[in-house]
């Protein structure tokens, strides 16, 4: 642009963008890998003209201009092509000549990513650092009156129950009378949260499934994975590995035609059925698979035409009221598998969670309640939903647990917490804190993607393009050219690594508290926080 030229409202300089590409002329070999790999085409080959004024010594020759051309990288400033900071350019550069840097001030791009009146949509996370979970400490250390246990050598039983647990008297009575006792699964307290086949690439999904199967069959860890709303590959439905899978049904019912039809061929019952009513990242909004990702395979599994966006409605269309419609839905899902499979709802964190919970306590079929807090991730959502809607998980879970304890039903309806667990890397500590606040287990998605597949998302709006199918790591893309970058075997290995290390860390937390015989659900006397208001709110100790 010339200094006297025309400026459009959305004319931005590189400085106005959230990420600036630093590129070194000295190191660049002009190999072109960076421009090829960039998922959003933020950089392109730049042909630069350079003028050099040469002033020779003496008077014999006059000063002259020398014009040269050199080649390099040019960063686009069009909002549609703004750099997302993924850093793939740096990953592929043989010489380390290029790197995106985050701007040191608030960017101006945010005011312009609404072209055509379409507000910003993205995948990823809330992009808020910190959070209460990281601030909770475990303060009740067993010292001399009771010895701390040995995390490495003592026997531990870190299992949780998924399913409606009856009061002991009732359970024994029904056992004697041979009545129906709700199915209960004994599972590992860290569940891989619902990420659909479609949101994730086939390689990513396969890797997760292989990892889960290995953990179960070779290591004896009953880890479960939820499908998310996108159905389940037909071969998996008909395999013995189905027992490690929690099938999710959501308001779009995607994939359920295939699931229902394969019931007669199922060798095993699924672990459970999760009815998704809400999601922490975009509460009150339905699932969304944008058209970029709906290829033939996805379309076939979901039972839809390819190439169209798949927005699930915000609520189940058959729902009239929680009292009877939710009960009916839970009951019909039970019926589909002969009352052998636990069925539970998942809601987004909300100040109305207690109302839902109280209703479920009166429903003898409700097997659990999963609550997904505001820090949950998603494959696609409106930015405003992600950034501003939702309820933090800690107080939601705590309120629900205390309410159950008041009713004498704590752990009868197990609570599962999701949303931001391990978002700053502290998976085991966050999980343990939630368990001691009253959760029976936790669900995690983002951490799994980061640890098992190297997702680049961070809490600073990096990458976040899961929605448009251009994931540079091949995690959330449906383009074979991209997802072949991800080796499913390696994903499986990492899943195993992360669960084993989580297990050790969890033991390293509970052993010093003197706990090993059972998961310390609701052991709030072990928790402290350096914030008096938070301590009071969560009914834990205030420590400074």
């Amino acid at each position: 642009m010339f200094s006297e030229g025309y400026i459009a409202p959305h004319s931005l300089s590189v400085r106005d963008l959230p990420w600036q590409i630093h590129w070194s002329l000295d190191k660049c070999t002009l190999c072109g890998r960076c421009t090829t790999v960039c998922p959003v085409h933020a950089i392109e080959l730049g042909v630069f003209r350079k003028r050099i004024v040469e002033t020779p010594m003496g008077l014999a020759r006059r000063p002259a201009n020398v014009f040269k051309v050199f080649y390099g990288i040019r960063q686009k400033t069009d909002p549609a092509y703004a750099c997302i900071g993924c850093g793939m350019c740096n990953l592929v550069c043989p010489n380390g000549a290029i790197m995106p840097y985050r701007t040191d001030e608030a960017d101006k791009l945010r005011f312009h990513i609404n072209r055509g009146g379409q507000p910003r949509r993205r995948g990823g996370r809330r992009n808020v650092r910190g959070g209460i979970l990281d601030r909770i400490k475990f303060i009740r250390i067993s010292m001399l009156t009771d010895p701390a246990l040995d995390a490495g050598r003592h026997e531990f039983e870190l299992r949780t129950l998924l399913g409606r647990v009856l009061p002991p008297e009732e359970n024994l009575r029904l056992l004697k009378e041979e009545g129906w006792i709700p199915p209960v699964r004994e599972i590992y307290p860290l569940i891989i949260g619902g990420m659909s086949f479609g949101a994730l690439s086939p390689n990513m999904w396969e890797g997760l499934q292989m990892g889960v199967a290995y953990l179960n069959e070779e290591l004896g860890m009953p880890v479960r994975m939820c499908t998310g709303e996108g159905g389940c590959p037909p071969r998996l439905l008909r395999s013995r590995f189905l027992k490690y899978v929690i099938l999710q049904i959501a308001s779009g019912y995607f994939g359920w035609d295939e699931i229902i039809h394969s019931i007669p061929d199922m060798k095993e019952d699924p672990c459970a059925v999760e009815i998704k009513y809400g999601q922490g990242a975009k509460p009150g909004d339905g699932g969304l698979l944008m058209w970029y990702k709906v290829n033939k395979l996805i379309a076939a599994i979901r039972g839809v035409p390819p190439g169209v966006s798949l927005p699930s409605p915000p609520t189940h269309q058959t729902k009239y009221s929680i009292e009877e419609a939710v009960a009916k839905m839970i009951q019909s899902m039970y019926m589909a598998w002969g009352f052998r499979v636990p069925v539970y709802p998942k809601i987004s964190g909300t100040s109305t969670a207690l109302a839902v919970l109280n209703n479920l306590t009166r429903n003898p079929y409700a097997a659990a309640l999963a609550i997904d807090g505001e820090d949950g991730g998603t494959g696609a959502a409106y930015n405003v939903s992600m950034d501003h809607m939702g309820h933090p998980i800690a107080s939601n879970i705590r309120d629900c647990y205390l309410n159950l304890a008041k009713l004498g039903k704590q752990n009868e309806i197990p609570l599962f917490a999701g949303g931001g667990i391990g978002k700053n890397g502290n998976l085991a500590a966050n999980a343990a804190a939630l368990i001691m606040l009253g959760a029976s287990g936790v669900q995690s998605g983002k951490y799994i993607m980061q640890a098992a597949a190297g997702c680049l998302g961070s809490e600073s709006d990096r990458c976040n393009v899961c929605n448009i199918g251009v994931c540079p790591k091949g995690i959330t893309s449906q383009d074979p050219r991209l997802y072949r970058r991800l080796d499913p075997e390696k994903v499986a290995e990492r899943v195993v690594d992360l669960f084993l290390s989580f297990d050790t860390e969890l033991k390293k937390i509970v052993a010093p508290l003197g706990r090993s015989t059972s998961l310390p659900i609701g052991m709030s006397d072990a928790l402290g926080i350096d914030d008096a208001a938070a301590a009071q709110r969560l009914q834990i100790k205030y420590v400074v």
Binding site: S142, L161, P167, E169, K409
Partner: protein, 376 residues
């Protein structure tokens, strides 16, 4: 760590024998308190024919309030043991007005009540007295039950016992539970002193139950009036036993399955595996954790000992037909029954429950891996 000693004998014994055992083991307690539970009583108490006995500590004012209260609800004193103590207590023991052990005649209108109803009402009266006492700080009530006496006080066990002159002939029992306290995480409060009591069940423990808070929350939410007032993390052991026997109708061998259930691979091979899995799932909230040796006495005069899942605490059972003792340390057992066959001493391990019946002829050992007795 606290010291525990229990004995069960066909002949009534003086509580001093148990106190002597505690004294031998004194390195392990700090003299912060002593608790005694006596049952299957001898002497004059044998003729009381099921009259409930109230045990507690009262101020003069509190005693007057007690008398008014008991009179109002129709209880008449049937027999009492007055403990007159010297004017000034020994160092470390607080000054009290009255240590009361008093048996009452049941009110006439209770005659037609069922056993369960009587049991419930007796418990309610104990709780009511406890509450009244806490309001005015003039009474501390330990037990109110037929054939049970409890004495608790702050101080060194032997000093307290001599001060209270416990070696008197009116005070003899066939079952004696004694605990010398090592004060841990709670203030010295007599309600935090072992043994704990509910409806004829008494237990005492050493070590700390790290799963206390969730268990307390579960028990307090059962809607049963007696599950209240937890001053010690060990009180839940007594209440879990009560819950096992009275609410679930399960016998002692099941207790261990509730507090420290078997792991899955063991359940798979267990003859009662299916039942135990249901028990494990539904009673998950009662699973204890931490180093604990639990010794207790049941309403049918059986005494028992169990250990935590890792057997982190010592505990030994030994004796001879007619006299057995359960002790946290072997030296305590040696001091009281030196002439026993030591080779048949038994130290229960992580799966065991030891039970000695009222015939006091043998030590019955149940392992968690054994087939369980049928449920009635």
């Amino acid at each position: 760590m606290c010291r525990l000693f229990a004995l069960t004998s066909t002949e009534p014994q003086s509580p001093m024998r148990a106190i002597e055992a505690l004294d031998v083991m004194r390195e392990g307690h700090d003299g912060s308190g002593v608790g005694l539970f006596l049952s299957d009583l001898g002497g004059p108490w044998e003729e009381l024919d099921g009259a409930p006995i109230l045990s507690g500590i009262f101020s003069n004012e509190g005693l007057k309030r007690l008398d008014r209260f008991m009179m109002d609800i129709g209880f008449m004193t049937k027999y009492k043991l007055s403990i007159k103590v010297p004017k000034s207590p020994p160092p470390g023991v607080p000054k009290r007005d009255i240590y009361l052990i008093r048996a009452y005649e049941l009110p006439e209108e209770w005659e037609d009540l069922s056993r369960d109803e009587i049991d419930f009402r007796l418990m309610k009266i104990r709780l009511q007295l406890r509450q009244m006492g806490q309001e005015n700080e003039d009474m501390i009530v330990f037990s109110f039950w037929p054939d049970c006496i409890m004495i608790k006080e702050i101080g060194d066990p032997l000093t307290v016992a001599e001060y209270l002159q416990l070696d008197r002939k009116e005070l003899r029992a066939r079952i004696i539970l004694a605990q010398g306290r090592q004060n841990t995480n709670y203030a010295i409060n007599l309600y935090a002193c072992h043994p704990f009591f509910i409806q004829g069940i008494a237990t005492m423990t050493n070590g700390e139950n790290t799963a206390f808070v969730p268990i307390r929350d579960f028990l307090s939410s059962r809607g049963f009036a007696g599950y209240m007032g937890y001053q010690s993390d060990s009180e839940v052991f007594t209440h879990i036993m009560h819950y096992t026997l009275n609410m679930l109708g399960l016998d002692v061998p099941y207790y261990k399955h509730i507090i420290t259930p078997l792991q899955d691979h063991d359940l798979e091979d267990h003859p009662n595996g299916d039942f135990l899995r249901h028990l494990k799932h539904s009673c998950r909230r009662l699973v204890i954790d931490g180093p604990n040796c639990v010794i207790g006495c049941l309403p049918d005069k059986r005494v028992f000992m169990v250990q935590d899942r890792k057997k982190l605490r010592p505990g030994v059972v030994g004796g001879k037909p007619g006299l057995f003792a359960l002790s946290s340390e072997i030296c305590g057992l040696d001091a009281i029954i030196p002439d026993r066959d030591k080779s048949s001493d038994f130290q229960p391990m992580h799966l065991d429950t030891v039970i000695i019946g009222p015939d006091r002829q043998e030590v019955q050992i149940c392992s968690q891996k054994d087939t369980l007795p049928p449920i009635h």
